[in-house]
């Protein structure tokens, strides 16, 4: 019982505990300016993880986000000169379209989302390679600054990317908690059959959730591309695992229905702290994925709602 009552509070307790532990080991961690920089760094991950939250919240998963972001870095770099700032709109729409296709394949063709999104991801990867000729592309610095300079500026010590990330998080939170779509999303995530029996268009809700996931992944890709001033079919590699970890550690289980955007913000901060701690402990970059792999397994084991799995007669 106590476990059940405590479960919703695990994520922020974990976060606070981690911050305290890391802070004691390395007091420099507590400096406000250092913290702001760390947070700004983690914004593209936050945006990807927010998109992923929608997919996981309905009991699915979106494995295509990393490849979508890769594709978008290439697209942004290639089409920046042609479309200017509108390239942002273009790539977000393309990301949304890919997500919608994933959702369509999942709901109408009954392909489980982990397979459909994996396949869509490879399609995106292939497009990225084809579009970039398998080379790393570079942006024209003047064009970049003219159209997207606002993304990485700094106003009164607050990095713009942090503001963008928090605005997107707020928007997603609003969508999840305060709109008819969010309500339908919750119904589908917690009780899909009851949602069907209440006349909710479950397929449409799911397709839209995957569409959102794709749009957020695309936006994250856009930020990468601008930040690193280029595009490459491998630029966003490594972010899929981190995004899944952020969502699950935040307390949105793979079975869906509980958790949400706020949880993912907390989860992303946990990932950020772990990453900072690894840097401090001088853990080699090659070993970091290993640590996150283990964290992912532990997070799933701790957060999954076993009552939703098919139970055996005991």
């Amino acid at each position: 019982m106590t476990h059940e009552i405590l479960r919703p509070h695990f994520p922020w307790i974990t976060l606070v505990a981690l911050i305290v532990i890391v802070g004691i080991a390395n007091p420099a961690f507590f400096s406000v300016s250092g913290f702001v920089i760390l947070m700004a760094d983690v914004i593209p991950l936050l945006i990807m993880a927010i998109g992923m939250t929608f997919a996981i919240y309905i009991g699915g998963i979106d494995l295509s986000i990393q490849q979508l972001a890769n594709m978008v870095t290439v697209m942004t770099t290639v089409y920046l000169a042609q479309f200017g700032i509108s390239v942002a709109l273009l790539v977000v729409l393309v990301g949304g379209l890919f997500g919608i296709i994933s959702g369509f394949v999942t709901t109408r063709l009954y392909v489980p989302s982990f397979v459909s999104t994996l396949a869509i991801g490879f399609i995106a990867l292939s497009i990225a390679k084809w579009l970039s000729n398998q080379r790393a592309l570079f942006m024209d610095a003047t064009l970049r600054d003219a159209h997207f300079g606002w993304m990485f500026g700094n106003t009164m010590g607050v990095p713009h990317e942090l503001v963008i990330g928090l605005l997107l998080a707020f928007f997603a939170w609003l969508l999840q908690t305060r709109t008819p779509f969010g309500r339908a999303l919750k119904a589908v995530g917690s009780g899909e059959l009851a949602a069907v029996a209440s006349g909710i268009d479950v397929d449409r809700v799911k397709i839209f959730a995957f569409g959102l996931s794709g749009m957020f992944a695309a936006f994250a890709g856009l930020m990468f591309s601008v930040k690193l001033s280029g595009g490459d079919a491998q630029l966003a590699n490594g972010f899929l695992l981190l995004a899944i970890v952020a969502v699950l550690v935040g307390g949105t289980p793979l079975t869906g229905g509980v958790g949400g955007i706020i949880n993912t913000v907390i989860g992303t901060l946990i990932v950020m702290v772990i990453r900072a701690a690894m840097v401090y402990l001088e853990i080699d970059a090659t070993q970091q994925q290993m640590i996150f792999g283990i964290v992912l397994i532990v997070a799933i084991a701790l957060t999954i709602d076993r009552s939703k799995l098919r139970s055996v007669v005991k």
Partner: protein, 501 residues
């Protein structure tokens, strides 16, 4: 021989078994009856080892025992024949019978199917079931599967030296009358070797088969009667604490319906594999009950009306409009509400609170400029909580934590508040206690007085007779008989059963 003494079992917030004394003699058939929630299934789980009691003791032949799991209980000769069939459909009959005990047929790591088949045949002979043990289980009829289930437990006979106690949980619920007779004959024949505990909702059957009957109510045994000097009304009275009569179904509140106002019209409608040539009209204010056994097509018909299963023959009209596109979304738009049988899975969303559940069918109506108007939702929820007497600490309480009766009221409130005037009730009182059932009956009467057309698949025949204006008896997907009547001229149980099987 098998004895429970002052057995107690607590669950969070519930005292599920209260000092239960229970005894089975050698070769005896003991009946166990009680309403849903009386503690029958908890008691059975204690007996076959799925639950450990937290007070009292279990004795076999005077010796105290304690089972950690069903396997240990089986080793002491206690076996359970499951109501929800525990056979694996894609295995053969013999594989199912010896599931988990294949070792006896293994030489050098390989199973001898021939030896298993021979052994299985010997087991099947115990219940006079003449089928090939290599048949795939899903090819058997329900009655045959029920017997195989029994056979599976009877293999204890060879494995265990001592006495056997076999629990039969609602073994007759899917059987036809003839099959029930056969089963009883077999059970009586087996009493030479085993004792039985027979659990059923059908009190007449319990009376017929058992020697003694334990009557449970609210977690306690309220009486033990010998079936020779017991009668049905008496047992029923003790089970519910009072008599069931026409008052119970609110028959005095039944009003004539408006035969000019047709809400749902089926004209020779059919769905491949489920039902065919179904024609009926549902009128405003009418309670129309579909009666039939499992697989008679009544659930499928309800699903077609709601839009879940599109028909592929005939014409369906709802409120005069021919239905071409079938979907639950369209069904809800047409004013159809669906109270599903699986309340906890399809009725309420477990994990959403009371007001979220109540407005689920009309989310968009509660949005202002794209933002949910939660205060309006709460107000609606509070109105209905008061109107239907829903017991919940607050509108923000998770519906999964409410009792079955209150969950059902939330589901009904969901449809009524959204203005549905065609209501499909699929076993609306299943698993509810008496008080909650009466509330549901009251609501059905009230709705039909308000001109709502109700299509009902009742939990029991008594309920069907008590509640409806019209009864349609279905068998194998076809209409057998239609009863139309007013209060006072209701058909008897026999009339219905006669056409069902």
């Amino acid at each position: 021989m098998y004895q429970l003494k002052a057995v107690d079992k607590h669950f969070p917030g519930v005292h599920a078994l209260q000092a239960v004394d229970f005894e089975v003699q050698r070769g005896e058939i003991v009946g166990l009856v009680g309403e849903n929630g009386a503690g029958k299934s908890t008691l059975m789980k204690v007996i076959y080892g799925a639950y450990q009691p937290d007070g009292g003791e279990i004795k076999i032949d005077g010796k105290r025992v304690r089972f950690q799991n069903p396997r240990q209980a089986m080793d002491h000769g206690i076996g359970m024949v499951f109501q929800e069939q525990s056979l694996i459909p894609n295995l053969t009959v013999m594989e199912n019978i010896f599931l988990g005990f294949e070792k006896q047929f293994v030489t050098f790591g390989v199973v001898s199917w021939r030896a298993m088949a021979t052994a299985a045949r010997a087991q099947l002979a115990k219940v006079k079931l003449d089928i090939d043990p290599t048949t795939i289980t899903s090819d058997l009829s329900f009655a045959q599967r029920q017997l195989v289930e029994l056979v599976k437990v009877l293999t204890l006979e060879e494995r265990i030296d001592g006495d056997l106690v076999i629990l039969l949980d609602e073994p007759t619920s899917v059987l036809a009358e003839e099959e029930v007779k056969l089963l009883f004959q077999i059970v009586r024949g087996l009493t030479k070797r085993a004792s039985f505990i027979f659990v059923s909702h059908r009190i007449s059957e319990v009376l017929e088969l058992s020697d003694r009957i334990y009557i449970m109510k609210d977690g306690a045994v309220v009486d033990v009667v010998h079936s020779n000097d017991a009668d049905l009304d008496d047992i029923q009275h003790k089970m519910v604490g009072r008599e069931i009569n026409s008052e119970y179904y609110r028959e005095h509140k039944q009003q004539a319906y408006n035969s000019n106002d047709v809400l749902v019209s089926f004209d020779n409608v059919g769905l491949q594999g489920s039902y065919r040539n179904i024609s009926f009209d549902l009128h405003a204010g009418e309670v129309l009950c579909l009666v039939g056994t499992e697989g008679s097509g009544r659930e499928a018909i309800l699903r077609t009306v709601f839009g879940r299963d599109p028909c592929n023959a005939g014409r369906v009209k709802i409120k005069g409009e021919p239905v071409t596109a079938f979907s639950p979304m369209a069904g809800v738009r047409r004013g159809i509400g669906h109270v599903p049988r699986e309340r906890k899975i399809e009725g309420i969303v477990n994990g959403m609170n009371v007001y979220e559940n109540m407005t689920l069918a009309q989310i968009r109506k509660f949005a202002r400029l794209g933002i949910m108007n939660v205060p309006a939702e709460k107000q609606l929820a509070n109105e209905w909580i008061e109107r239907l007497g829903i017991k919940t600490p607050s509108v923000a309480k998770d519906c999964g934590g409410l009792s079955g009766g209150n969950q059902q009221k939330v589901v009904l409130a969901k449809w009524r508040s959204s203005g549905s005037d065609i209501l499909l009730l699929d076993h609306p009182t299943r698993g509810l206690d008496i008080g909650a059932k009466e509330d549901v009956y009251e609501m059905i009467r009230e709705m039909s007085a308000n001109g709502v057309g109700i299509l009902l698949a009742a939990d029991t025949l008594e309920e069907a007779i008590g509640l409806s204006h019209t009864i349609i008896v279905l068998k194998d997907g076809e209409i057998q008989k239609r009863f139309e009547y007013a209060t006072g001229s209701k058909p008897s149980l026999y009339d219905l059963v006669h056409h069902m099987i």
